[in-house]
């Protein structure tokens, strides 16, 4: 542990203020289970007058443990000793809110906050300025991310969409500016002695074949691949029958595009429509040629990325890790093995994270990926 960032698990909101007293906190990030009283948590944190963002999840990560219980909250405090500026914005993401309204409101709020904080929209400080997004998980993140890209393409962002139970019926986001079906963004400038890195990890092997999106009913509803019914063509290319398709198969054989520099932007299939159409967790455009990937163990890729971090200088690690990755670790009995990996490679460094309903990475909404923010002392 260090004096700049700390994280801990709580079962009662009332225990938080005394635990964070004396930490000179300038920003609080928290992730809570679906049975935790988030209204009480919101009011408790609001009373501290410290800026905060957080959300409901299905499982969370704190230091060396994945926590699956639904009645706890993981809390990370980031000291003012690290932070030069912090701004919190919130925007309406209710299911009744149109994509255009979310786009416009989040764009206006984001632009206003960045200007107020004195950020150069065209040329932000790439080593000290970034945004953390926590978006309402029952709405598409794409309109908010598009808006942020319009405001400042080069300001790096990281984050994820809130979760809850796997029935996808309830979720919530809290922040200093409100709570409920909202999106929240913390805009941060670090002090000159500190810097950050945003990166991602996904664990897939390339699979042969391409699927061109030739007909969409809407951005998350594929009717045709390669000019043929989507489920039939997807099944053919992965060597299965349509009757074999299931959530497990969709998680095993996923889709994505590549920016050409080794990154992979994953789009997962959620389910079929019963009529050979496929629904996805991410927006797509007609004409996009998707690569196909087969999932593999997360161990090697995560170990490689964690080892690239300078543990001597690292002061905190914030993870936004797809709920499908949490479930895959569970299915592969890798929960302990991978949780231990973080502590073995980054011993004593405060870590926090949550199981996201989608992740964001530098303006892109992605699935089946861990995106992360690492803060280092120069």
């Amino acid at each position: 542990m260090n004096s700049y960032i700390s994280s801990a698990i709580f079962r009662n909101s009332n225990d938080i203020p005394s635990a964070i007293e004396g930490k000179n906190a300038g920003l609080i990030i928290c992730f809570y289970g679906s049975d935790f009283d988030y209204t009480e948590l919101y009011h408790t944190l609001k009373n501290t007058k410290i800026p905060f963002i957080g959300c409901m999840d299905i499982a969370r990560f704190s230091n060396a443990q994945y926590q699956f219980e639904t009645d706890s909250v993981a809390v990370m405090t980031i000291s003012k000793d690290i932070l030069e500026k912090v701004g919190i914005i919130a925007y309406d993401m209710r299911k009744t809110t149109s994509n255009h309204a979310m786009y416009q409101t989040s764009k206006d709020e984001y632009a206003s906050a960045l200007k107020k904080l004195g950020f150069d929209l065209e040329s932000p400080d790439m080593e000290r300025e970034f945004s953390i997004n926590i978006l309402y998980g029952l709405q598409s993140a794409n309109s908010v991310l598009s808006a942020q890209n319009e405001v400042s393409l080069f300001l790096q962002s990281v984050g994820g969409s809130s979760g809850g139970k796997l029935d996808f019926k309830s979720s919530s986001v809290i922040c200093s500016k409100g709570m409920g079906a909202i999106g929240a963004t913390a805009v941060v400038r670090l002090k000159p002695e500190f810097s950050f890195m945003i990166d991602r990890t996904s664990s897939f092997d390339s699979h042969e074949g391409k699927l061109v999106v030739t007909k969409l009913a809407n951005p998350r509803y594929i009717l045709e691949f390669n000019g043929k019914p989507a489920a039939i063509e997807y099944a053919r290319i992965i060597g299965k029958n349509v009757s074999d398709l299931s959530p497990e198969v969709y998680a095993l054989y996923t889709l994505g595009v590549e920016p050409g520099d080794g990154e992979r932007l994953i789009t997962s299939i959620m389910k079929d429509d019963g009529n050979n159409g496929l629904l996805t967790y991410n927006d797509l455009l007609e004409g996009t040629e998707l690569s196909i990937y087969k999932a593999k163990t997360q161990f090697e890729d995560r170990a490689m990325k964690l080892k690239m971090l300078d543990k001597e200088k690292l002061v905190g690690y914030i993870s936004f890790d797809c709920v499908l990755c949490y479930l895959a670790r569970d299915a592969n009995e890798e929960i302990e093995k991978i949780a231990s990996l973080y502590e073995e490679i980054l011993p004593g460094i405060p870590k926090i994270g949550f199981g996201t309903f989608s992740e964001n990475f530098c303006g892109a909404n992605v699935n089946q990926t861990e995106t992360y923010l690492a803060i280092t002392k120069r």
């Binding site: 790439m126 990154e263 932007l265 690569s291 303006g363």
Partner: protein, 73 residues
Amino acid sequence: MRGAIYNYLNDYFKRLGLSEDTLAGKTKIRSIRIQVSLKGLNLANFSPESMDNANDLNKLKSILESLKLGAAA
């Protein structure tokens, strides 16, 4: 046109004064690449050796123009 997409993108980065030699340049290039991919051009399919067609090159030009990054548009 062999390597048309690869070459056009690299020229575009140069015109913007971006280089992979600095963290800032590398990160800005990453952001541009991500946007190109999100807007429908899967850069996994293009390399210095790929035989690229005019439609894809026009699509790339149109995407880059939509980013409104000034000097290189």
